[in-house]
C-alpha cells in the first residue's frame, strides 16, 4: 500500500506549505516547517526504499481529480521508486540542514511556504501516470522553485535570473506538452498505459525524442539550454540550491527517461543514441570549462551540475545506441552507469551546496576571492566539503569514481556497434569524458583550495565560526553516503537492477553482491573489476602503518614557524594565489579557444603611482551565437509590431479585414 501513503504524504507537504503562509512571520515557524518536512521525507524515503529493495510489483491508482474524462492516474514502479529515493533523500537532508540554516533567513515568509510545496511537486511528477497530471505537477514544481529563486528578489541579479528561468521553464513545458500531444495521438489517450500500448511511426517518435530532449534538457541543463541554470540555482537559499541542483535536475532526467525509454519503447533508429551521446559529451566538457572560469562558489557548483548532467546523458545515449542494436547486456551496463551517476550526483552536489550554505552563513560571502583559510575556524565543514569535492572529482575510493568507471566500461563496449558514425563518436566522447573528469579535479582543487585553504583574504573570512550541529549532521550524512556508495558499489548496482530491467526489456547486469570480496565486475571479472572496499582498506592500512612506524621509530617532533616560501615570505594575504590566478593556465590553454579569452595588462609608465591592471575578457559562445541573435530578433520584431499600437481606426479596420481575407483564403486552399 505505499502509493496512497506516498500521495497523502505529498498532500501533507502541501498542507504544511499552506500552514506556513499563515504563520511564516512567527519565529518558531521555520523550525516546525522544516522538522515536519524532514519527518515526511524520511517516511517517504523508507516507503520507497522498501518498495525498490523488495522489488514489488508496480502499484497504480486513479483518483477522480483533474480532467473529468481522464481522472488523475498515479503509478509507483521501480523507475519512479528510484527517483523518489533521490528526491526524498535530498529533501530530508535539505530539511535537516535548514533546521539550522533557516534561522538565518532574512525573508522566511518567502521561503517557508514554497519549500514543502516544491518537495510535494517533485514527488507528484514522479508518481504521475498520465500526461495531464505529469505536466501539472511539472509546472507546479517549476513555479514553486521559481518562487524560491525569487526569495531575495530585491537583488537585481536574482530578478534577472528568475525572469530567465521563467522563460526557459515555459519553453520546456511547451515542448513537453507537444511531445505528449504527439504521443497521445488524435484519440487523446493521455494516460501513460494507453501511450505505451499505442504504436508510433518512426518519424513521429523521432520528433517526440527531440521534443523530450528540449523539454527535459532545458530543465536539466543540457547545453545549449543551460543558460538559466547557473543564474537561477545560486540565487535561491543554499538548501534550496541543493535541492534544485542535486534533485530537481534529476526529476528532469526522469522525465526524459520516462518518455524516451518507457513510453516510446524501443529506440527506432541508431542516431537517437548518437544525438544524445554527442550532446552529453559537449555538455560535460563545456559545463566544467564554464565552472573553471567562475569565482562565485555557488555558480561554480551550478555549472558543475551542467557537467554532471552531461555525464548522465552520455550513459543514456550509450544505452539508446545499444538498445537500437539489440545489445541489451551492454545497454544494461550503460543504464546502470547513468542511474548510478544520478544517485551520486544528487548526493555530492547536495553536500557541496550545503557546505557552501554553511560558508555563506559564517562569512556572508560566496565570492572565493574574498574567502580563504576557512579550514581553521570551520574544520568539520571543511572535511565534509572536501569529501564532496573528492567525490565529484571522481577520485577513488569515493562514489563519483564508480559511476564514471562504469560509463568508461560502457564506452569500451562500443566497438561492437555496427554503425560507423557511432564507432567514431564513442571514443571521442570517451576522450571528452576523460577531459571533463580531469578538469573537474582541477576545478575542485580550486574551489576547495581557495575557499578553505591558505590565509583569509577578508575580515569576514577571519571571523568565521563553525556552523551549527543540524547542518553538520546533514552534511556528514551525505558524506558518509558518498563513501558507502563508493566502497560498496555492488550493493547499489544490485538495487538498481529492477530499474534497469524495467527500461531495458528485462536485461540487467549480473548480481554483484555475490562476487568475492564485494568486487564490482559488471562484465567478467578478468576483463574489468574494481573493489572500492579493498582500495580503501589498503590505503588506510598503508597510510596508518607509515604514520605509526614513522612516529614510533623515526621522529614525531614538530614545530611551528613562519612559512618558508623560498626565502620570500610575504606578509599580505593578497599575495596568495587567487581563484583567478589558479585558473589562469587552464584559461590560457582551453579558454582561448572556447571562450575567446583575452588578457590585457595595462602597465603604468615608470614613475606613475597608479596600480597596474589585468583585464580578462571571456565571451560565452552559447550566449553570443545562440541566444543573442534570438533576443535581437525578438526585440526587432516587437519594435516593428509596436507600430501597430498607434494606428488610426480606419487602418485597424482594414487590418482586420485583410486578416479575415487571408484566413478565408487559407481555409479554402487547405480544403
Amino acid at each position: 500500500m505505499p502509493l496512497p501513503l506516498l500521495l497523502s504524504l505529498s498532500m501533507a507537504l502541501l498542507t504544511v506549505g499552506i500552514y506556513a503562509i499563515a504563520t511564516a512571520r512567527h519565529a518558531s515557524c521555520s523550525r516546525r516547517v522544516y522538522s515536519v518536512a524532514l519527518a515526511i521525507s524520511g517516511v517517504a524515503l523508507i516507503l520507497v526504499l522498501t518498495h525498490l529493495l523488495t522489488a514489488s510489483a508496480p502499484a497504480t491508482l486513479t483518483l477522480p481529480l483533474s480532467l473529468p474524462w481522464l481522472g488523475a492516474h498515479f503509478r509507483l514502479d521501480a523507475l519512479s521508486a528510484f527517483f523518489l529515493i533521490v528526491v526524498n533523500l535530498g529533501g530530508a537532508v535539505a530539511s535537516l540542514f535548514a533546521l539550522g540554516y533557516g534561522q538565518h533567513e532574512r525573508a522566511p515568509e518567502r521561503v517557508l511556504p514554497f519549500f514543502p510545496a516544491f518537495l510535494a511537486g517533485m514527488n507528484l511528477v514522479l508518481l504521475a501516470d498520465d500526461a495531464f497530471t505529469f505536466l501539472f505537477a511539472w509546472e507546479f514544481m517549476s513555479l514553486t522553485s521559481w518562487a524560491l529563486v525569487m526569495a531575495h528578489h530585491q537583488e537585481s541579479a536574482n530578478a534577472r535570473a528568475g525572469y530567465l528561468y521563467l522563460v526557459m521553464a515555459c519553453f520546456g513545458t511547451l515542448t513537453l506538452l507537444l511531445a505528449f500531444g504527439m504521443m497521445a495521438g488524435p484519440n487523446g489517450g493521455y494516460d501513460f498505459a494507453a501511450i505505451r500500448a499505442g504504436e508510433m511511426t518512426p518519424g513521429l517518435a523521432a520528433v517526440v525524442l527531440i521534443l523530450a530532449l528540449l523539454g527535459a534538457g532545458s530543465k536539466a541543463g543540457l547545453v545549449p539550454l543551460h543558460v538559466w541554470l547557473p543564474l537561477a540555482h545560486p540565487a535561491a537559499p543554499s538548501h534550496v540550491s541543493a535541492l534544485m541542483s542535486g534533485v530537481m535536475t534529476k526529476v528532469a532526467v526522469y522525465g526524459f527517461i520516462r518518455i524516451v525509454f518507457d513510453l516510446l519503447g524501443e529506440p527506432m533508429a541508431w542516431w537517437w543514441g548518437g544525438l544524445v551521446l554527442a550532446l552529453g559529451g559537449i555538455t560535460a566538457v563545456l559545463g566544467v570549462l564554464y565552472a573553471l572560469m567562475q569565482h562565485d562558489l555557488k555558480r561554480l557548483l551550478a555549472y558543475h551540475t551542467v557537467e554532471n548532467i552531461g555525464i548522465i546523458f552520455i550513459g543514456l545515449g550509450l544505452a539508446l545506441a545499444f538498445q537500437a542494436n539489440h545489445m541489451y547486456a551492454s545497454a544494461a551496463l550503460a543504464l546502470t552507469a547513468a542511474l548510478f551517476h544520478i544517485l551520486n550526483h544528487s548526493l555530492f552536489k547536495s553536500l557541496l551546496f550545503l557546505g557552501t550554505g554553511a560558508v555563506l552563513t559564517a562569512t556572508g560571502e560566496r565570492d572565493m576571492e574574498r574567502l580563504g583559510g576557512l579550514i581553521h575556524p570551520m574544520p568539520w565543514t571543511a572535511l565534509a566539503f572536501l569529501m564532496g569535492a573528492a567525490a565529484i572529482s571522481a577520485l577513488p575510493p569515493l562514489n563519483g569514481f564508480v559511476s564514471e568507471w562504469l560509463t568508461f566500461q560502457a564506452i569500451l563496449l562500443t566497438p561492437e556497434l555496427p554503425q560507423w558514425l557511432l564507432k567514431f563518436l564513442a571514443p571521442a566522447v570517451g576522450a571528452l569524458l576523460a577531459l571533463s573528469a580531469a578538469l573537474a579535479a582541477a576545478c575542485f582543487v580550486k574551489a576547495f583550495g581557495i575557499t578553505f585553504l591558505g590565509r583569509p583574504r577578508s575580515p569576514a573570512a577571519t571571523q568565521a565560526q563553525e556552523t551549527d550541529r543540524y547542518s553538520l549532521v546533514a552534511m556528514f550524512t551525505l558524506a558518509a553516503l558518498c563513501l558507502l556508495a563508493g566502497i560498496l558499489p555492488g550493493l547499489v548496482v544490485d538495487s538498481l537492477a529492477p530499474v534497469v530491467g524495467l527500461l531495458n526489456g528485462g536485461a540487467q547486469l549480473a548480481t554483484q553482491h555475490t562476487q568475492p570480496w564485494l568486487t564490482l565486475a559488471p562484465i567478467v571479472d578478468a576483463k574489468s573489476a574494481y573493489n572500492g572496499l579493498l582500495v580503501l582498506l589498503f590505503m588506510a592500512l598503508s597510510g596508518t602503518a607509515a604514520a605509526l612506524l614513522i612516529h614510533r621509530f623515526a621522529s614525531s617532533a614538530s614545530r611551528r614557524g613562519p612559512a618558508w616560501d623560498c626565502g620570500f615570505p610575504d606578509a599580505s594575504p593578497a599575495t596568495q594565489y587567487t581563484a583567478g590566478s589558479f585558473a589562469q593556465p587552464i584559461r590560457r590553454v582551453f579558454g582561448s579557444i572556447v571562450f575567446q579569452a583575452r588578457e590585457r595588462v595595462t602597465m603604468p609608465p615608470p614613475g606613475d603611482g597608479r596600480p597596474a591592471r589585468l583585464e580578462v575578457q571571456l565571451r560565452d559562445p552559447v550566449w553570443d551565437y545562440g541566444y543573442a541573435p534570438i533576443t535581437m530578433a525578438v526585440i526587432a520584431a516587437s519594435t516593428r509590431a509596436n507600430h501597430l499600437q498607434y494606428l488610426t481606426i480606419r487602418r485597424y479596420l482594414s487590418l482586420v479585414f485583410g486578416a479575415l481575407v487571408v484566413l478565408l483564403l487559407g481555409m479554402a486552399l487547405w480544403r
Binding site: 566497438p415 582543487v445 576547495f448 583550495g449 571479472d525 574489468s528 594565489y577
Partner: protein, 318 residues
C-alpha cells in the same frame, strides 16, 4: 597453504617496490651525472636522504592546517597502493584484480588532488603556482593516459592489467600501429606525470618554471620524506607499467614457483635499469620547455592516444 603463499608473494611485491623505488631514483641521478661527465652521488644517496629526513623534526608553517599534515600520508598511501597493483615480476597476484588500469590512473589522480591542495594550504605564491600548473598539466595528461587505456582495452578486451599483460605475451599480437601510438602517448604522459625534463625539472628549486617542487616547498622532515618516497614510487610505477604492458617478457604467472619468480624478478630489475637509463639519456639530451609549450606537448599525447583508439575502431588489425 596456497593462500598464505599468495599473501606472501603479494606482500613481497609491495615491499620490493617500496625498497627499489629510491634505488631507481638514485640510478637515474647517477646516470645523468655521468652523462654530464660529473661523478655524481652514490647510488644509495636517496636512502640516506630519506633516513635523514625521517629523523628530522617537522617545521610547519604557521598557517598550515590539518590537511597539510595528513596529505603526505594520504599521497604516499595512494601511490603505494597504485604501484602495488601494477604487475611487476609476476602477474595475477592475489589482489591484482582490486583495481584495473582506469582505477590505477584514478588513484594517481587522488594523490595529485591532495598534493595540489597541500600546495595551496600554507597560502604562499610558490605553492599556488605549483598547484595551478600541476592541475593544468594533469588535465591534459590524464585524458591522454585514459585514451591509451582505451587502445589497450580495445585490443586486449580488458582493462585488467593481468589480462592485458597475458594478451601481450601471446604470440599473435605482432607489431601494430595503434600500439606504437599508445606507447608514445604513455611515454609522454609518464614524463609529464613524473615532473621530468622537458615538462618540469626535478633538480631545480629556484626557478619560476618549477611545478612539483613548488608544491612541496613548505614540506620538511618526515612529511617531505614521504612525499619524496611517493615521487620515487610513482616513477617506478610508470616504468613498471610500461614494462608490464609493452615488454611483459619474463614475467611469471602467479603460483609458478620460486624459479619462475626469480626469473621474473631478474627480468623486472633489467627492465627498471633499462628504463632508468633511457630516461636519463632522454633528459640529458633535451632542454626544459616553457610552461605554455607543455600543453602542446601533452596535446600531442592526447591526439596520439585518440588516434590509436580510433584506428582500432576502424580495424582490429591495425
Amino acid at each position: 597453504m596456497a593462500l598464505i603463499t599468495d599473501f606472501l608473494v603479494q606482500g613481497g611485491q609491495m615491499l620490493l617496490i617500496l625498497l627499489l623505488a629510491p634505488l631507481l631514483t638514485g640510478w637515474v641521478r647517477t646516470l645523468k651525472a655521468q652523462l654530464l661527465r660529473r661523478r655524481g652521488p652514490s647510488l644509495l644517496q636517496p636512502y640516506r636522504d630519506l633516513l635523514k629526513l625521517l629523523r628530522k623534526e617537522v617545521v610547519l608553517a604557521e598557517s598550515a592546517s590539518w590537511l597539510f599534515r595528513v596529505a603526505p600520508y594520504l599521497i604516499f598511501a595512494a601511490i603505494w597502493v597504485a604501484a602495488a597493483l601494477v604487475p611487476t615480476f609476476a602477474s595475477g597476484l592475489m589482489f591484482n584484480w582490486t583495481a584495473d588500469l582506469i582505477a590505477i590512473v584514478a588513484l594517481l589522480g587522488t594523490a595529485r588532488f591532495f598534493l595540489a591542495l597541500a600546495g595551496l594550504d600554507v597560502g604562499t605564491s610558490f605553492g599556488g603556482i605549483g598547484s595551478s600548473r600541476e592541475m593544468m598539466i594533469a588535465s591534459l595528461a590524464e585524458p591522454a593516459m585514459l585514451m591509451m587505456v582505451f587502445t589497450l582495452s580495445l585490443l586486449a578486451g580488458a582493462t585488467e592489467l593481468t589480462t592485458v599483460a597475458r594478451f601481450m605475451l601471446a604470440a599473435d599480437v605482432g607489431l601494430r600501429v595503434s600500439l606504437a601510438l599508445a606507447l608514445l602517448a604513455l611515454l609522454i604522459v609518464a614524463i609529464a606525470e613524473n615532473a621530468r625534463i622537458p615538462v618540469d625539472n626535478p633538480a631545480t628549486h629556484l626557478e619560476l618554471t618549477m611545478v612539483h617542487e613548488a608544491m612541496v616547498l613548505e614540506y620538511s622532515g618526515r612529511h617531505l620524506a614521504l612525499i619524496e618516497l611517493a615521487a620515487s614510487l610513482k616513477l617506478l610505477l610508470y616504468i613498471s607499467l610500461i614494462g608490464c604492458i609493452f615488454a611483459p617478457w619474463g614475467m611469471a604467472t602467479a603460483g609458478a614457483g620460486l624459479p619462475a619468480y626469480f626469473i621474473g624478478v631478474a627480468a623486472y630489475l633489467g627492465k627498471l635499469a633499462l628504463g632508468g637509463f633511457l630516461l636519463a639519456l632522454f633528459e640529458t639530451s633535451i632542454a626544459k620547455m616553457r610552461v605554455f609549450r607543455v600543453d602542446q606537448f601533452l596535446g600531442v599525447a592526447l591526439m596520439l592516444g585518440l588516434l590509436g583508439a580510433l584506428l582500432l575502431f576502424v580495424s582490429r588489425s591495425l
